[in-house]
């Protein structure tokens, strides 16, 4: 498992890869070696191929489709009602974001907008990478605030994913309640951090805003308590459980995030200590079945664990002053792995003279999309929504950078 392929970056025409679930070491690899790994085409950005598909009916979904939040094209091949193959093509909305030569401040704004829903996680990875190159680590309090924003982001995201699963199972009352809770989390985030999606909170060397967490703990506790009562109601509904249980199994050692943990692969980059998670009571949540219900259960447990960490941090810090630290003379490169709500994200960064020289990201969505496509095989068409939503994909984070 430690040699599973996690990321491939092309730097100056050379292929470099990161292996396993903890390491940030980059090693050279040849195209021939990459062929050993079934997920390597995805990591290289090859989403489509030209397989013969006679005798299969192709449901051509997207790139603009009412059911999905973002633009993606899917060729869903069926034999009658049964799905026999899915070929996702997430390249339609690829923004080809220009990162090369960007000044660091400007680059941070862009990084936060790669995936707006995970701006805290992406911003943290970028700042940690720059700080490592500059040899100017942020203060302990800043690191705690980074955990705080990452965990509130996780709570918000997991509520969203469970709301989408509930919507798919036509549990309308619970769905409305969950989406209302998601909105209330956004308002709390806006009140305490100045932006509903944490844009502009992270800074290189510190934070861009003064943060005062007085009263935050009670508000987050209130949200999680309410979520728990909705979850209890949902899981007492046979209809909800029937739609999720034994639907779309997935068990691949190269998966990441809640999807991996739902199949009892206890990978979580928070274990690597990129932030002081060991000081705030972090524990890994897992389940063992690997179906849609397991993925939802892992998210439900993670909401509780994140709440405990928020409580712990609010007991340790009260006010953190803004502070930044950019050293334009430093050059070098760094690889950072950060656990976004959908899973491990790997960021590669090179800087020189205060500007970016190299940039690459292997997102959780890129890591897991093949697992999604495989998990839906043999399911029926109506399973599609559950397979898709349970992984928590964001197409925005599957783009290329130039």
């Amino acid at each position: 498992m430690d040699d599973c392929l996690s990321a491939v970056f092309k730097i100056d025409d050379e292929l470099l890869c990161v292996k396993g679930h903890i390491s940030t070491a980059m090693e050279p690899c040849s195209s021939a070696e990459l062929e050993r790994y079934e997920n390597s085409p995805l990591l290289l950005g090859r989403y489509m191929d030209s397989l013969e598909r006679s005798e299969k009916f192709n449901f051509n979904l997207g790139p603009v489709s009412g059911g999905l939040l973002e633009s993606i094209k899917m060729n869903v091949y069926t034999d009658g009602e049964r799905i026999v193959e899915i070929r996702p093509d997430p390249t339609f909305k690829d923004r080809k974001i220009k990162m090369g030569e960007a000044p660091l401040d400007n680059a941070l704004l862009k990084v936060e907008r790669i995936n707006g829903a995970f701006a805290a996680g992406f911003g943290t990875a970028f700042c940690l990478a720059v700080e490592e190159i500059q040899e100017t680590p942020a203060s302990f309090e800043t690191q705690l605030v980074r955990i705080l924003i990452s965990e509130i982001e996780r709570i918000s995201n997991h509520i969203h994913v469970i709301a989408k699963l509930s919507e798919g199972a036509s549990q309308n009352v619970a769905t409305s309640h969950l989406f209302a809770l998601e909105e209330r989390v956004r308002r709390i985030v806006s009140e305490y951090f100045g932006h509903r999606f944490f844009f502009g909170v992270n800074g290189i060397g510190g934070l861009e805003r003064n943060i005062d967490v007085k009263g935050l703990q009670d508000k987050v506790d209130g949200i999680v308590d309410e979520f728990s009562s909705i979850w209890d109601a949902l899981t007492s509904s046979r209809l909800f459980l029937d739609r999720l249980q034994t639907t779309c199994f997935s068990r691949k050692e190269w998966m990441v995030g809640p999807a991996a943990r739902a199949a009892n692969f206890r990978y979580d980059s928070r274990l690597s200590g990129y932030l002081p998670y060991e000081d705030v009571g972090f524990e890994v949540a897992s389940d063992d079945t690997g179906d849609v219900l397991s993925r939802a259960l892992v998210r439900q447990k993670e909401i509780e664990i994140s709440r405990n960490m928020v409580d712990e941090i609010c007991g340790k810090v009260r006010r953190v002053e803004k502070c930044r630290n950019i050293d334009p003379d430093k050059r070098g490169w760094s690889v950072k792995r950060v656990e976004t709500p959908s899973g491990d994200m790997i960021l590669f960064l090179g800087i020189s003279n205060g500007h970016i020289t190299d940039f690459g990201i292997r997102s959780a969505s890129t890591a897991n999309i093949l697992a999604f496509a495989q998990s839906a095989i043999s399911g029926i068409l109506t399973d599609f929504t559950f397979a898709w939503e349970s992984f928590g994909f964001w197409i925005s984070e599957m783009g290329e950078y130039i």
Partner: protein
Amino acid sequence: MDIHTSIVKRPERTFKESFTVFMIDTGSCGACNLEVKSLTNPIYDMHRLGIFFTSTPRHADALLVVGVLSEKMKDPLRRAYEAMPDPKLVIAVGACALSGGILGSGIREMLDADVLVPGCPPSPFTILDALIRSRDGQK
């Protein structure tokens, strides 16, 4: 005090009683999508105002665009616009769709937006306010 931050260049009163919106993502970070989607939650509940989303441009009164204009979404954007019946509105939501922001170019090279909703992302209240004014004649 003027609380409106969006600009309604051309309202369409035909949609006053019932207004149906088709959202298209031409290259967003996802946050604008979430803010637009949240208009259906019970806190904003746009349905009570006679505003609905549709999953096909054929039934749409307005095309609501989020995100920068990516190369491969140009054709789907054009086709969605052409599939809509007249009269129709184009609503650009978020800095990306308006101007490209810091990530690319906006939709202006392809479509002239009738309603401009600034923000990164605009809050659901701002978007809802723009939708209401798009169809009741208030500029």
